[in-house]
């Protein structure tokens, strides 16, 4: 079983719509990191949230870390075709900072 459960697995929306991706665990994490991966490339770090309850905004992307540091969400407002990709949440479990555990990913497709 995955330490981090992501939902949904696939998401297909029209340009201009909003979307939310969820990342949940029963374990506490030192931080939660969100990456985006294009086909044939490595993941690219979008943001790291460290404090429970933290909210970070990067232009149209909003990231939230749960109060208990067990879950996180990524919200995209007015999605654009350039937002298409595989979104991965990952984090080092609290007390084990050296190992990054990944969710299985959410494939987002934004149609023009």
């Amino acid at each position: 079983t995955q330490l981090l459960e992501q939902s949904p697995q696939f998401l297909s929306i029209q340009e201009g719509e909003n979307l939310t991706v969820y990342c949940n665990s029963s374990s506490v994490f030192s931080s939660l990191q969100w990456y985006r991966q294009e086909p044939g490339e490595g993941p690219v770090l979008l943001v790291t949230v460290v404090t429970g309850g933290e909210v970070k905004k990067l232009k149209r992307l909003t990231f939230q870390f749960g109060d208990a540091r067990k879950d996180s969400s990524l919200h995209i407002t007015a999605a654009q075709p350039g937002d298409t990709g595989l979104y991965l949440c990952a984090g080092p479990r609290y007390g084990n900072d050296y190992k990054l555990s990944f969710g299985a990913g959410t494939t987002v497709t934004v149609r023009a």
């Binding site: 044939g40 990952a90 900072d97 050296y98 990054l100 990944f102 299985a104």
Partner: protein, 113 residues
């Protein structure tokens, strides 16, 4: 500023052979981690190197081994290749344990036939 560099980009090997993958970390980073990503899945942690020592290992057999050099670059070796070893192998570098995030390379696509 160069990011993480991996070589080769693609590789085809036969079952039973051995393979060596290489990684140069981002400038200023001293820690290198290796991940295996099967198609349609998230990356799985293989191991992490720091100060030329394996600091932590994931659930991978001893056929997977590594090395870190004094210049922080790293190699991943896989012996006795199996068909199931076919995957994208990613190298990630970081500083300060990686709690704040990692920089990944573009990966090496290994196909075992």
């Amino acid at each position: 500023d160069a990011g993480v560099t991996q070589s080769p980009t693609h590789l085809i090997k036969t079952r039973g052979q051995q393979v060596t993958l290489r990684c140069s970390p981002k400038s200023g980073h001293d820690t290198v981690s290796w991940y295996q990503q099967a198609l349609g899945q998230g990356p799985q942690f293989i191991f992490q190197y720091y100060e030329e020592e394996e600091r932590q290992r994931g659930n991978f057999p001893d056929r997977f081994s590594g090395h870190q050099f004094p210049n922080y670059s790293s190699e991943l070796n896989v012996n006795a290749l199996l068909l199931g070893d076919s995957a994208l192998y990613l190298c990630a570098s970081s500083s300060v344990r990686g709690v704040l995030g990692y920089t990944f390379g573009s990966g090496t696509r290994l196909t075992v036939v």
